[in-house]
Every structure is written in C-alpha cells, then in structure tokens.
C-alpha cells in the first residue's frame, strides 16, 4: 500500500522552544571538546506517514494537500515543507 509522507516544520522566524532546548543540550554535552558540538541550531518538526489503500490519484493528492494545510499543520505557526507522494511527481 502506498505511503504518503508529510513534513511539517515550525515557521523559521518563530521561536522553536523544543529545538532551542536540544541545541542547549548538545552544546552542554560537547562542552569538554575544544571544537564544541559544531551545531549552531536544531529545529524540530513533524513527519506524518499516511498509508492509503488505493492508487495515488490526482484527487487523493489534492485531498492530502488540503489535510496537510488544514489539519496536520497550523499555518499561523507552521509550514508544510514537503509532501512526498512516493513518486517523482511530488
């Protein structure tokens, strides 16, 4: 059965408190190393895997785009950065 993958990220210009906390932890872990962690920022997003029963039709693609925009993400705080329909036409 085909799987469609939707990636959602917090908007670049907005604070990502989770990513900030992980960045801090990475820097703490590598503070003994001279070069530091070498990582200046971490941002945390979400990956949704949607398993579908039938073929990935144009109608289904459109529905998934709507679901991604309306339910899986909140356009005020997040962006849908990618939808992978499992083929080259994504």
């Amino acid at each position: 059965m085909p799987t469609i993958v939707v990636d959602v990220m917090p908007k670049a210009e907005l604070l990502d408190p989770q990513g900030k906390a992980v960045t801090g932890a990475l820097n703490r872990l590598s503070s003994s190393r001279e070069s530091g962690s070498g990582i200046s920022e971490v941002r945390i997003g979400k990956r949704f895997e949607l398993t579908v029963e039938g073929p990935v039709t144009e109608e289904l693609r459109e529905r998934v785009r709507e679901i991604a925009a309306d339910i899986l993400s909140n356009s005020v705080i997040e962006d849908v950065v990618n939808i992978d329909f499992g083929d080259d036409a994504s």
């Binding site: 917090p10 604070l15 408190p17 906390a21 339910i71 909140n74 005020v76 705080i77």
Partner: protein, 233 residues
C-alpha cells in the same frame, strides 16, 4: 429568568466541573455538553474548559477544534452567542480560527502554575463588561503551551483593533508576544485566555491576594459579565 451556560467536555478536559461551579456561583444554570454530539441543548452561552484534550496530540486544542460539537459552537459564535475559551479552550478557539494567532510551548519549556496578575485591556466584551479597562486582577495560570504568537501583520491588527482582552503584568510567564494573555473577536462575544478565571470564584479556594490567602474572586466577574451581556440582548 435563569440563563443557561453550557460547558463542553472533551476527552482529556480537566476543569469542566470547576467551570460549572463558577457558572452556578455567578447565578446561572450550568449545562453539561458533550464533544461528540451536535447538540448545544439550547444554551445561552458556552464555555470551552481547560485541560489536555486528546493529550495535546498534534497541537494543543487541534483535534478538539474539529470535534463534532465545534461546528455548532462555531455557528453559535457567528450569531453572537458568548463563548469563553479557557486555557485548552483558548487553544481550541485559535485552532478553530475564531481567534487569530497561535499558542506554542512556553518559551522556557516548563509547565508553570502561579497566581498571575492580568490587566484588563478590553472591558467591552461579553466576558469582561463587569471590569473597567485598566483593572488589574489576579487569576491562576497553569499551562505548558501558553506562548502566544502571531505574525507581525496579525499582531498589528489585533493591537490596532483593540482585540487584546488581557495582558500579563509583571514578568511575562511564557514568552507571549506583547504580553498577550487573552483575546476577543471583532464582535466581542468570543473571548479566550490562558489563565483560569473559574479557579478564582470563591473565597477560600482562589488565588492569594494582598488581603488574604486564597481570597481572590476576580474570576467570578467573567461569568457575571456574560449574564449581564445576555440580559442586555
């Protein structure tokens, strides 16, 4: 007549009984409503209570915002019915696009619980008309995802249209932009805020004040405001 105010229970709601108690103490009848039904039971106003509906999965309030009863809540809000969203209820209102902006994890990542000072910025709504603009009140705050954000354009519009209902006083508890604690819609019938007025309605069970421990009852006026708004219709 006795007005009837409905409180919607969602899976994971926590404060629906406190909200019902606040409604009774204000002098109205509290009516239990259920998220899975399309039935407002003829109520005059609606409270979306606090809690962690659906475990805050997806985004806080996001799944509750598309539950069956929300289509009726959105329609009722459109006709001018007073709707109050408290904490998780506020998150539902922004997810349902009844209020602008969004709420994200507190900037410091910690859950916070404290007696919070607020300034009333708009005393012309269905839930604030018993206050005066500029009044300073104390209401308990308790949440993990209380950081209010909006893009620059939305923020400018919200400020310009006087839609900020409450602002935090003192130290900003969660990184909310412009210290925003609560908002109203254009018509003033929908109000959402992160702090919990239903926990400040009875002396002995409320927040600490300068007068005495647990004596704060500033929250009661949210509910008596709604009754006044309903009586004025």
């Amino acid at each position: 007549m006795t007005f009837r105010i409905g409180v919607v229970t969602f899976p994971g709601s926590l404060d629906e009984r406190d909200a019902q108690r606040a409604i009774r103490l204000a002098g109205a009848e509290a009516v239990e409503l259920w998220h899975g039904e399309h039935d407002l039971k003829g109520v005059d106003a609606i409270v979306l209570p606090g809690g962690f509906s659906y475990g805050d999965y997806l985004r806080a309030g996001a799944i509750a915002a598309v539950s069956p009863i929300m289509s009726e809540v959105i329609d009722a809000a459109g006709t001018g019915m007073p709707v109050l969203g408290i904490c998780n209820g506020f998150q539902m209102l922004v997810e349902a696009h009844l209020l602008p902006g969004g709420l994200i994890r507190n900037a410091h990542q910690q859950f916070i619980r404290r007696d919070q000072g607020l300034r009333v910025e708009n005393a012309d709504t269905a839930w604030t008309n018993e206050f005066a603009t500029g009044d300073e009140i104390i209401i308990p705050l308790k949440n993990g995802d209380g950081g209010y954000i909006a893009d620059a354009e939305t923020l400018k519009r919200v400020e310009g249209e006087g839609r900020v209902a409450f602002r935090y006083t003192g130290l900003n508890p969660n990184g909310s932009l412009n210290d925003i604690a609560g908002l109203t819609n254009e018509r003033g019938n929908v109000v959402g805020l992160m702090p919990h007025p239903e926990h400040a309605v009875e002396a002995g069970f409320g927040p600490d004040t300068e007068v005495a421990m647990r004596s704060g009852v500033d929250g009661l006026r949210f509910f008596t405001s709604a009754l006044r708004a309903l009586a004025a219709v």
